[in-house]
């Protein structure tokens, strides 16, 4: 089980690395916003797997909930900025 989760975490890290390309080089701000919200969902899963490693899943779920909510609010704020200012 542990090895399986470690492999999954490594795969997710690889995916984050791929998405990070869009964040760094992506033309324009729209690519970056979409890529960052994708990174948010992936790191959330990694966080919960860390919680399994530490045997404290209930604590890490609290953090990941906050994470998801504030990711959403940040994206909405950025979209509103783009709508009003261009």
């Amino acid at each position: 089980m542990n090895n399986f989760l470690i492999v999954i975490t490594l795969a997710l890290c690889l995916l984050v690395f791929v998405v990070l390309y869009r964040v760094v080089f992506g033309p324009g701000v729209f690519n970056r916003i979409a890529a960052i919200s994708a990174i948010g969902t992936k790191t959330l899963v990694i966080l919960i797997i860390f919680g399994y490693f530490y045997n404290r899943v209930e604590m890490f779920i609290d953090i990941s909930l906050v994470y998801a909510l504030l990711n959403f609010i940040g994206c909405v704020a950025a979209a509103k900025y783009l709508e009003t200012e261009g």
Partner: protein, 81 residues
Amino acid sequence: MTIPFDLIIQIFVIICAIAAITVRDLLSAVMILGAYSFFMCLMWAQMGAVDVAFTEASVSAGIGTILFIAALMKTTRRTKD
């Protein structure tokens, strides 16, 4: 844990930090800073500092991004040089 995940996350953090200071667009810089604090939160959690990770996630990733964007409303998005 056998695999040093903190090394991998550290690479992500450094990439984000460099991208945040080199990018021209201010809104992009703000969003990359949000990703930076996501990775910082992941790093704190990986070290076992749950409370610090919680503070990082709520303050820096959440309200920090929103306040930066609100401040961006009062200025222009592109840098001059």
